[in-house]
Symmetry: C2
Subunit: 207 residues, 2 copies
Amino acid sequence: MSTRDKLLLAAQEALVEDGITHVSARTVATRAGVNQALVFYHFGTVSELVAAAARARTGASLDHYREQFAAVDSLTGLLALGERLHAREREEGNVALMAQLMAGAQRDEVLAGAARHAMDVWRAEVESVVRRVLAPSPVADVVDADGLARAISAAFIGLELYDGVDPDGAAAAVTALERLGVLLEVVEDLGPVARRAVRARLRRVKR
Amino acid sequence: MSTRDKLLLAAQEALVEDGITHVSARTVATRAGVNQALVFYHFGTVSELVAAAARARTGASLDHYREQFAAVDSLTGLLALGERLHAREREEGNVALMAQLMAGAQRDEVLAGAARHAMDVWRAEVESVVRRVLAPSPVADVVDADGLARAISAAFIGLELYDGVDPDGAAAAVTALERLGVLLEVVEDLGPVARRAVRARLRRVKR
DNA sequence: GTCTATAAGATGATAGAC
DNA sequence: GTCTATCATCTTATAGAC
């Protein structure tokens, strides 16, 4: 593995395991087993290293989930994928990495750019699923798939951040969402009834 | 204002405006207009200062929202409160502060304690609303109010974190959630029908 | 309680030898 | 590309005068 890649991997691990506050040229270089000066040779600044690490990770991690996203064809399926994703994220920490990136991005335009990019990659993936799943439903008329995908992604980031601080609490949150799945099933069962109700309500709302 | 309070306020502002990575005894003391050594005299460590600042802020901020939480009596009302809350949070940054706290808490037990406490204060407030709003609904049988309150709170934290990086994207997310409000109205309208459907589904699910 | 001074270490970044 | 200095700066934290 090249030094460059060693640094990228080490930066990713550092973000996930230690958080953005403990990331420095020296801590990352030590973790990578390379010299500290090489951070600046290969990336110029620490922020650029972190940004590059985040970009590499989001690409790779979404490649892994892509098939599963593509296979989802129902609301309950989307929720189930969310649960599996959370279970895997507890080990992988791809989303936790994004949370750390965003936290550090508040006053760092380089990190902010990487954060927006990461968010956009996730948004695109979630959006296509949301669009597909809701297409046959009356709900499609009311839903803004782009915005909803952003909301779902942001919510997920908050959840993974919470998990790092209180795993039991986060587990309770996930379990609660699981149980809400029953309601989704009801909505799906209700198909025609709900469709009429939504249509009626929409006529009233759209002035 | 006492030096202690100046430091607490400065630490809160620093967290919201600059983020946890830029918080140090010196930056906060400068912002407070006091000597750097006083951080250690009053709080012992920087982490203790940050933790105290976060505790003070969550208490004060929730006092402000408490009446509004108490006034919510419907699902749509809860969603509407969420929107108003987000609008105010864009200026106040109480939730953004929690996000920064959680990001820094990954390897810092002092911050982690404060983060869990802040989360618990929010959870309690949200939980009571969720419980009250859903009590008359058939949904109450399926919902775990504690876990759901945690999920909602965590989602909100993710949203405010996202807002700091991409305000337009976050605004789109909020707008999408607003539009989902129409669906909530439908569910509320559907009352009796939904009740029967949920009951039926529950009989099937609970083996 | 507040200040100055200072220790002891970490940090970003560069120059120059190999 | 990699290493060894080396800087100037920033950091936490303490001792001691006021």
